[in-house]
């Protein structure tokens, strides 16, 4: 078949397929410009979109757990079935999780380690200090502590 004939041939479903294409483009644009992550899959492309001061701090969170036998363990979020950014995304403005969330983290770990459960769990903010974009020193600070006694 010649190209001209092929072009003249009606395309079945062209109208609704065109509508689907326009809708997908419109939702992508709307998501990128006006919506939030809550609207996934049509959400803004915002990974690494927040600026960082070149003289300041770069922080991330981790955990330190103390077990019943006295062992002190450095734990990252994956020890509780989460990604670090997911923990960071749920902190309050003060940088803390809720007491129930801290207790739930300890419970998840203890379920899989019943022989030597956690009796204390600390949420830490760790990172590096920057001066003019140069990392110059490390810092570490305990933000929140859960203990088995207090339960929160």
């Amino acid at each position: 078949m010649s190209d001209a004939r092929a072009e003249a041939e009606p395309i079945p479903g062209a109208r609704w397929r065109s509508a689907v294409a326009v809708l997908l483009v419109a939702l992508t644009v709307l998501g990128a410009t006006a919506l939030t992550d809550d609207n996934w899959p049509f959400a803004p492309f915002r990974m690494f979109a927040h600026p960082v001061r070149s003289t300041g701090r770069v922080a991330k969170v981790d955990f330190v757990g103390v077990t019943e036998s006295g062992r002190e363990l450095r734990l990252d979020a994956s020890a509780f079935g989460l990604r670090r950014a997911e923990v960071e995304g749920q902190k309050s403005l003060s940088g803390k999780l809720t007491g129930a969330q801290m207790a739930a983290l300890a419970a998840v770990w203890n379920d899989s380690h019943p022989s030597d459960p956690l009796v204390e769990l600390r949420l830490r903010k760790i990172g590096r200090n920057l001066i003019d974009g140069h990392p110059v020193s490390y810092f570490s600070r305990v933000v929140q502590t859960w203990t088995a006694r207090s339960g929160s």
């Binding site: 803004p44 492309f45 079935g81 899989s112």
Partner: protein, 306 residues
Amino acid sequence: MNPAPTASIPADADRAAARSGLGERWRAGWDRYWFDPVPVERVDVFARIIAAVVAFTVVSKDGWAAMHADAPVEFYRPVLLARVLHLAAPTPTTMLAVRVLVVVGAVWMLTRRAPRVAAAVTLVSYGVWLLWAFSYAKVDHDRLTIMVALLVLALTPRTGISVERLSGWALRVVQVVFVLAYPFSAWGKLRFGGWEWMGSAVFTASIIRRGTVIGDRLLAFPDLLVLSQWAFIVFEVMTIVLLFPRAPRRLRIAALVGVLLLHAMTYLMIGISFLPHTICITAFLPLEHLSRRWRAARVPAPEPAD
């Protein structure tokens, strides 16, 4: 007698003809863009690539998403679509069931039997997988294009009238959404970070948070990292050229190579590949050359013996 009507008839006819001509040209241009014919085998290969990546991410790469089955329910923050669907937090059983379903759908897609149903099964199950993945207060922006790819594959027949033009539609939609991710990623940086983003220490911070051996070495050169940020955002905007199939071929090839380099650099610096998005770059390639069926159809018939 009023002479006006007789005088206006040719003018009206000319205007109507001009409008009709304009409409026809617009329609023809629209069809040329969105329904540019491509070999069916190109979509076959593309679908298989997408299926393989979906299976790979679910079985291996997205181990973090599978971990959510064991995460405390206190951290479950369902996104809007998950709330609309009343999607409860995953359990080890439901997570395993969805994981198996995604793999079954992906393997089915590889066979190219009942391709639309196979893609639909994969789309729905992978969609649930991703809703669970992103309902813990962190959304990644590398999954939109592959979801769109699954959607258009679920809507594209493999046989029938104008199947090559419908195949072209599927790939064009993927191409457009793939490309839009870049300028709108630049837009996101300006929307959330403002103009100061380019001069900030965001690459330094990313390396500190997720560094690699190569990335860690670059920490000693903050000015180079700031320069990279400028280059990054300028390039993201320039990828718009890929939206225009009639742009100079060399420019389009340069843009595609640039996209690959951008992702390679990101991977080397901070270990993020954006694979489910990046793989959709294959929608731009003449994938039919990888199809045995297509190659076999092009082998000239043997000359009859004398």
